[in-house]
């Protein structure tokens, strides 16, 4: 049977009323948990695992797939509206998204995020159906050396968020790198900088740092500086996107998808890296560079498409090879095994109908999400009518409950406020906060991949030069970092 026939068969099963209901259920739950900071799709699916004892596999996976995609939509909402990312893949969205909301463009930001997520999700899901084989073969070519080179390229993207003073930006990056060192080192099992606190052995959660820096930090800063009665954020212009917005969004959507899908399919790619790369690319390519840092729509459209496309990409190694490459995928895998289904290289042969139904229901669920989320924007933007004092009090409560409710760990709560205070100081003294997050995400990945590469090559640095993919990525990174400077030096001399 051809891929198209298989997909049609999948639609046949997914379009039964009962399965549509499961999909609707999944996307609704997914959107809700995406909105709540801390509660991610992985944890939600894990908590729902016991239903696998009661429900048939098709229904369970339709539900899980809905939750998985839904969470990616919901995550952007809080990033844009209240600067509190619901999950780590939405951190970049808050950079421009929240600035847009402050300028009264919340509706457009939410709309471009929703439509971008939809388009990226559909393209990504079709990619699972039609491109799984070549993509997974490319992904497997990535070993530690290639990953390290990719991380180096990502570090270049930090320059896009450095702010006005490079030294301050690099200081912020160093703080993030330090946070990344805390905890048990994977390669030696030894604990670093845990100061005897057992809870720190697993490291510091990116989400706690993000919520602390952005939400708590901003709230404290506002409380400390604004004395007079603050006017509520006004909505400026229409709720949806203008013609201009569409024109500026469609290319970032497609470029974001192009970053997200293959990197998501890589076993150590993740959802955050494509959002960094997309943000950097959009900042470089935009016709409105002056708007970046003040709320540029490209900076929302690209990363939002990237994180949804990567969510689809993650399913490629899971469905073709049985490889779980994210926490959520690992939990979906354990759901497969509790049905006695072994996801592996033969999954498509042995469980064809299930896999194709899953893919079909992803396409359906994604459409449901768009239909669900576009009208919701009108409700979300009403949140902004809340006056600042009440609004920020609400954010504090929201962030605190979100953090404590998930882990029920007092250590996490203390950490949230310590980081929040740090965020306040950084804002007060004009340090950019985004590099902290980038350092925290990229630092540990880069370190681990570098050391893996060194173990494999027996300490020979040539491994980064001998491998063509690694070398190409390093050259691109060098050009991206030094190219503009060299260019301006050359043109200056000539002029």
């Amino acid at each position: 049977m051809s891929t198209l026939d298989n997909l049609m068969m999948g639609f046949g099963i997914a379009l039964t009323p009962m399965n549509l209901l499961w999909a609707l259920c999944g996307v609704t739950v997914g959107t809700a948990i995406g909105v709540l900071p801390g509660l991610g799709p992985g944890l939600t699916i894990a908590l729902l695992l016991p239903i696998t004892y009661k429900v048939d596999p098709t229904a369970a996976f339709i539900l899980f797939a809905g939750i998985y995609y839904g969470a990616m939509y919901g995550g952007s909402t809080t990033s844009i509206l209240i600067n509190t990312p619901g999950e780590s893949a939405s951190i970049v969205t808050s950079l421009e998204g929240h600035k847009m909301a402050k300028r009264g463009r919340a509706g457009a930001a939410l709309a471009t995020a929703a439509v971008g997520s939809f388009i990226a999700g559909q393209i990504g899901t079709l990619g699972i159906a039609f491109l799984a084989e070549p993509v997974v073969n490319l992904a497997l070519k990535f070993g530690p050396a290639e990953y390290f080179a990719l991380m180096v390229l990502c570090f270049v993207t930090v320059s896009a968020v450095l702010g006005s003073y490079a030294l301050r930006g690099l200081t912020a990056l160093a703080i993030g790198l330090f946070f990344g060192l805390i905890g048990v080192d994977l390669q030696t099992g030894q604990a670093r900088f845990h100061f005897g606190v057992m809870e720190l052995l697993d490291g510091i959660s990116v989400l706690i740092v993000a919520v602390g820096l952005f939400a708590i930090g901003e709230t404290l800063h506002l409380a400390a500086t604004k004395r007079e009665e603050e006017k509520a954020l006004e909505l400026d212009g229409p709720v949806g996107m203008t013609k201009e917005d569409w024109k500026r969004s469609w290319k970032p959507w497609l470029r974001g998808t192009a970053f997200g899908f293959p990197i998501g399919a890589m076993p150590a790619g993740g959802a955050e890296i494509p959002t960094f790369l997309s943000y950097y690319t959009e900042k470089k390519l935009t016709k409105h560079p002056e708007e970046f840092g003040k709320g540029a729509i490209e900076g929302v459209a690209g990363p939002e498409a990237a994180n949804n496309a990567s969510a689809a990409g993650v399913l490629v190694p899971l469905l073709t090879l049985g490889l779980p490459t994210s926490a959520t995928a690992a939990i979906m895998l354990s759901a497969f095994t509790s049905y006695g289904i072994n996801p592996g290289p033969q999954l498509l042969q042995t469980q064809g109908p299930l896999v194709w139904t899953l893919i079909a229901s992803l396409l359906i669920g994604n459409l449901m999400l768009l239909v669900l989320n576009l009208p919701l924007i009108r409700i979300w933007v009403k949140l902004l009518k809340i006056p600042a004092p009440q609004m920020y009090a609400g954010i504090l409560v929201f962030a605190t409950i979100g953090t404590y409710g998930i882990s029920r760990s007092v250590v996490d709560l203390v950490l949230l406020y310590v980081v929040g205070f740090l965020g306040f100081l950084m804002r007060r003294f004009d340090f950019p906060t985004a590099p902290v997050i980038i350092g925290l995400i990229l630092g540990p990945m880069a370190e681990q991949e570098f050391r893996r590469a060194m173990t494999i090559s027996n300490g020979d640095m040539m491994i980064f030069i001998d491998k063509p993919i690694a070398l190409s990525l390093l050259v691109i990174a060098a050009l991206a970092a030094l190219g503009p400077k060299l260019w301006s030096m050359l043109t200056a001399r000539r002029g």
Binding site: L49, A139, L140, K141, L321, L323, P345, Q346
Partner: protein, 325 residues
């Protein structure tokens, strides 16, 4: 209200009833236990969580215990949760914690002030043999080939497995030591989670890999990975054990149940009794089958001795690996 069924139940000998698979809710020795508080020192979705959920399902199906409460405290191979279980549940007669071999190693590596020796052993439920694999295209056709390469130059043989100091690493350390190779010289590449480690193997990034058999099973069946040896005492899944291939090393990644410290011997006996009945019942046997777990059941004092021996043995190899003091 006493019904006829209750009288009937009370009249039956608990052991006999369990053996026959008949429902019994209150045997004489477990009078007090009507609900279990299950403490999982790991995140939902992992192996320990699966064990906990399987216990719940089996005990419910076989009418042993109907009421369950779960608490998850993930982190550091169980070392975040362990002190919380000890402090929070001390003396509690119906609290159990899921734990296992991983916790023994994690305690030694993290130099934790409390270890698995501080809780009360109840029963060992399952064991998983580890398996050594090489990629399909590897020049190493047999275990002997791989071991020869390891002895010749350990630095050129890279191993993908779980976090350093975990069961995979411990196993490779034992293998190296048995061959007169310094465990510290082994080129061990740690990955978090089975997915990335498998990807490294499938992409020919490393020489060999170690993990639980279940993790690699599908890749082995599909011929993408070649299984060279399993870590148990005897061969499994058509793969010979190390012992059967002349190397005296054996290791199980076992999972078991522990109770809180400070419970009375009678309370401990009652808890052991619950698990004795569970493993005799049909539901648990079915779980072992569908999950592919090996039921290496051991309970009471025999399990206590086993845990102590494992602590001694594993701490010693971690010292050889330079990871524990």
């Amino acid at each position: 209200m006493t019904t006829r069924r209750d009288v009937l139940r009370a009249g039956l000998l608990a052991g006999a009833a369990a053996g026959l698979g008949l429902p019994v809710s209150t045997p004489a020795f477990a009078q007090a236990i009507t609900s279990l508080d299950v403490f999982v020192p790991a995140a939902p979705g992992g192996g320990w969580d699966a064990t906990a959920r399987a216990i719940e399902a089996a005990m419910r199906d076989d009418d042993i215990i109907k009421e369950f409460k779960f608490e998850h405290v993930p982190g550091a191979g169980g070392m975040t949760g362990l002190p919380r279980f000890i402090n929070g549940k001390k003396g509690s007669s119906n609290a159990i914690m899921i734990g296992g071999m991983v916790m023994v190693g994690a305690g030694a590596v993290a130099k934790s002030p409390v270890t698995i020796a501080n809780v009360t052993p109840i029963a060992r439920l399952t064991g998983e043999a580890l398996v050594i694999v090489v990629p399909e295209a590897s020049p190493h056709k047999t275990l002997a080939d791989l071991v020869a390469a390891l002895k010749k130059d350990p630095k050129t043989v890279s191993w993908a497995g779980g976090s350093a100091g975990g069961s995979d690493h411990i196993f490779i350390g034992m293998l190296a030591k048995s061959q007169g190779v310094d465990p510290r010289s082994v080129a061990y590449v740690a990955y978090s989670g089975g997915g990335p480690a498998q990807a490294a193997l499938l992409g020919n990034q490393v020489t060999a890999g170690v993990s639980g058999y279940g993790e690699f099973e599908e890749q082995i069946k599909a011929g993408k990975l070649r299984a060279l040896a399993v870590s148990g005492d005897t061969g499994q899944f058509g793969v010979k054990s190390l012992k059967e291939q002349g190397i005296d090393v054996s290791l199980y990644n076992w999972r078991g149940v522990f109770a809180a410290p400070g419970i009375t011997p009678a309370q401990r006996t009652a808890l052991v009794g619950l698990f004795d009945r569970m493993v005799a019942g049909p539901a648990w046997k079915k779980t072992l089958e569908t999950r592919g777990w090996e039921g290496i059941y051991l309970s009471g004092d025999a399990y206590g001795t086993y845990v102590n021996n494992e602590i001694t043995r594993i701490t010693a190899i971690l010292k050889d690996l330079g990871l524990a003091a």
